[in-house]
Amino acid sequence: MTLIECRQLTREYRKGETTIKPLDGLDLDVPRADFLALMGPSGSGKTTLLNLIAGIDSPTGGTLRVEGTDIGGLSRHALAAWRSRSVGYVFQLYNLVPVLTAFENVELPLLLHRLSAQERRERVLRSLERVGIGDRADHFPRQLSGGQEQRVAIARAIVTDPAIIVADEPTGDLDKPSAHAVMSLLQELNQELDKTVIMVTHDPKTTAYAKRTLHLDKGRLVERGVDELEEAAP
């Protein structure tokens, strides 16, 4: 069953006199519970596609339907409400709020929902336990390692139980063991909780955790190179 449907998806920017087209008429279907890795050179449109799917950017052409909703046609306010329900975003640099503890960071998305304090607390602790960092709930980001920070960010992404998790180079700032742990975690969320994970990566090794890998170049999907297939082997 198709969860995300892109048809002739286009995104253009104007920079002075020049028009930049990071996405150029892209067609893509993502089924529910897919784990999709997006690869490609810098400027190929990976992050733009990810941002469009996450609803933090809007297409300038084509359609983007998620769970049947044309999110390109939503107002700013409606799109914000949709994001809070449907998408969890994992950033490369974690982007935790530095003055809040791990618990408070994970609680942030829940403040938008009608939940009692007790329900929020239970959900936050469950999410932190799920990513294996329940014992660090009262730690501030500066007191955590990069891997731990990324786990908190993943807990924040899943705490509202969204259908889609998007991750923009989630291991880009991590050492190997931490990267492995984070990727294993995303894989678990995909396999055990049926979350649809869409991940942008430069690292062919991380694509081994995904169910499929797509390559972008100049804003379009392209065939995958043989050398990358070899690099991706675990």
Partner: protein
């Protein structure tokens, strides 16, 4: 959406950026201290000089004289003044001040005929310590206004010196009249004789008129009565008299209003600067909140709320400090025997806090609006 849920977030942003918040709050507190102090002086001037419909007191002074040392009227004018139609009583008063300059700590002696004074003025006074009998029975006894007693730390039974007069504290009185709060009432003869040998000479007469509507006519009649006398008089309503002798101070206090407005501008600049810097350094953080689904107007509200919290914190500190100093320091600006209280009440504090709240909102308005309109993807690209 329950907006109260976001209050802890706002408070954490303020308290956990400790240094930045502390510096901002300290700056606001200093500015609000000055603003509240200036407002307290303004309030004092208003209290001392604004006439009410119930005012029935006239002050008869020596014409063309502006200070107690030079205003000398024969005491026997009393009988003639009391003969003017509409006059209920005339109280001769001899004023001696410890300091001819404008000061925050002047001791003003008002020599009055004791029994007549208590009969006519006693209802305005509340004895808070000591006794009237003691005051009546001792020649050197003084009845101190509460502000003066409190400022000088004087209690019944104590002896004090000021203006070359040594007096015994017989009692402390409280009054709604600012002039009573900051003086020492003694026997008229005691002040006349205290080193000055001016028996029969007084500084002024306080004249009680039957009705407020008669003030103008009675004052004209009194001045006409002494128009050709060796010591002509100038008669004013009591509040107008204060306004006349304290003209310089009132002008200065009026100018100080600009200082107060300057303080508010400083608060606005401080809060705005703090919010702008805070928003600029947290572009990514606000973009993350938007990514999590926070609508733009909620983010704008959070930013403005931070401004309000900072402004209110500074306002509470500065306002409370000024309130405490004005209220418990018992200061009064004294000039030529007239007293302008520095008056702070809870209303002044509330006004200060409301002003701070409005400034906090204003200061955050533009950065909040900008932050709420930013494109999320642009923010991440810019960081």
């Amino acid at each position: 959406m329950n907006l109260l849920l976001f209050v802890p977030y706002v408070l954490k942003q303020v308290t956990r950026h400790g240094v930045r918040s502390a510096l901002t709050v300290a700056g606001i507190a200093v500015a609000m201290f000055l603003f509240t102090a200036v407002q307290a002086m303004n309030t004092g001037v208003t209290i001392a000089t604004t006439e009410s419909a119930n005012d029935t007191t006239l002050v008869v002074y020596r014409a063309d004289r502006f200070c107690p040392a030079t205003s000398q009227l024969p005491q026997d004018y009393q009988r003639r003044i009391e003969g003017v139609d509409g006059v209920v009583s005339a109280t001769p008063i001899k004023i001696v001040v410890s300091n001819c300059r404008t000061s925050l700590d002047v001791v003003t002696f008002r020599g009055v005929p004791k029994d007549a004074f208590l009969d006519e003025h006693g209802e305005n006074l509340t004895l808070v310590a000591g006794s009237y009998d003691d005051w009546r029975s001792r020649t050197d006894a003084a009845l101190l206004g509460e502000t003066l007693a409190s400022r000088r730390g004087l209690r019944p039974g104590m002896i004090f010196d000021a203006a070359g007069i040594t007096a015994y504290v017989a009692g402390v009185v409280r009054s709604s009249d600012a002039q009573d709060q900051n003086v020492a009432y003694t026997a008229l003869e005691f002040v006349q004789l205290a080193g000055r040998d001016q028996l029969g000479i007084v500084t002024q007469f306080n004249v009680k008129v039957r009705e407020a509507s008669m003030l103008e006519r009675v004052s004209a009649d009194i001045d006409a009565l002494f128009d050709t006398a060796q010591e002509p008089t100038a008669t004013f309503s009591e509040k107008a008299f204060i306004g006349r002798v304290a003209d310089d101070i009132i002008e200065l206090v009026g100018f100080a209003r600009w200082l107060g407005l300057g303080c508010l501008a400083a608060v606005l600049a401080l809060v705005a600067n703090s919010i702008v810097l805070s928003v600029q350094s947290r572009v990514a953080e606000h973009a993350v909140l938007q990514t999590l689904g926070y609508p733009g107007r909620l983010i704008a509200g959070l930013i403005m709320a931070e401004g309000v919290v900072l402004a209110l914190a500074g306002g509470v500190l500065g306002g409370a400090a000024a309130f405490g100093v004005a209220r418990y320091g018992n200061f009064a600006l004294s000039v030529e025997g007239a007293s302008i209280p520095i008056s702070a009440d809870a209303g002044l504090l509330v006004v200060g806090l409301l002003v701070c709240g409005v400034i906090g909102i204003l200061a955050g308005l533009v950065p909040a609006w900008q932050a709420s309109r930013r494109e999320i993807a642009e923010c991440f690209r810019a960081v």
